[in-house]
């Protein structure tokens, strides 16, 4: 699990997100401290995925800032990347690489010092160890999703950003995910996830994105 022990805070202030000339949300604030979890809720198009991408640093917000322990992240893209794990809609699994190779690559890329022990533990945790030699192309959708989630354990990171992580997972795997998240929080990690409410995390806060939908039309060009 994560070796991060120090108390940390992660905040976003006044985020504005523009996609394809459309304002998705404006003036969004959020803050999270070690051990906390947050659900992103809202209808399709309210910007849950966009927000997670902004928080990951993939998408530049049109305005607003992100801070980690009260320090602005804007210029420290790589430092931020070292602290986070992002799980998006795609599973990023190469069909010709084996399960083990797929995971080992991402583990080492995130943390070159991460050994095979962490990879093995991650695979065992998500019930994929017996499939370690199987090429990615043979995996089912649920297995691919589990392999993607196994990245969370293959290398340590404080902040997990999970976009609909429970898609394609069966009940037992959702339970595993819940347990993994609980351990991560117990170790001082943070989790932000968007989901259709089939994951239960005790004590998680909720952020309703439809509250931040702009109320007047954008007139950039007026």
């Amino acid at each position: 699990m994560t070796s991060e022990q120090a108390f940390s805070t992660f905040t976003a202030e006044g985020l504005v997100c523009v996609r394809g000339e459309r304002v998705v949300f404006t003036r969004l604030d959020l803050s999270l401290a070690s051990g906390e979890a947050m659900f992103l809720l809202g209808p399709n198009g309210s910007g849950k995925s966009s927000l997670l991408r902004v928080l990951a640093g993939l998408l530049k917000p049109a305005a607003g800032r992100l801070t980690w322990n009260h320090q602005a992240l804007a210029e420290d893209r790589e430092g931020h990347a070292a602290r986070i794990h992002y799980v998006g809609h795609h599973d990023a699994i190469k069909p010709v690489l084996s399960v083990m190779e797929n995971l080992r690559f991402w583990g080492r890329l995130h943390d070159p010092l991460a050994g095979d022990a962490a990879v093995k533990a991650a695979l065992e945790r998500f019930g994929l160890w017996h499939l370690r030699q199987v090429p990615g192309k043979l995996l089912s959708a649920g297995q691919k999703r589990r392999l993607n989630l196994a990245r969370l354990l293959a290398a340590p990171a404080s902040l997990w950003l999970l976009d609909e992580p429970s898609v394609a997972l069966d009940k037992a795997s959702v339970k595993t995910l819940e347990a993994v998240i609980a351990e991560h929080r117990a170790n001082g990690g943070m989790v932000i996830l968007s989901t259709h409410a089939d994951v239960s995390l005790p004590g998680a806060t909720e952020l309703h994105l439809d509250r931040f939908t702009p109320t007047t039309p954008p007139e950039f060009w007026a």
Partner: protein, 68 residues
Amino acid sequence: MDSLASYFSMGGYAGYVWSAYAITAVVMVALALLTWRGLKGREQELKELQDIIPGRRGRSHDGVAEKG
């Protein structure tokens, strides 16, 4: 008249000289004209749009603009 004809013949190179000038004129005029027509078209389109949505002209502030 003779001098005029000899002027237009461009020392026997009339075809080259005049077509160079002609094609230049055509391209430049077309460029200016097409751009002008495009601009007028957009102006018209914008006017129609703004007529459909009443009250937009007055509201120049929104959440984004105030942020800066």
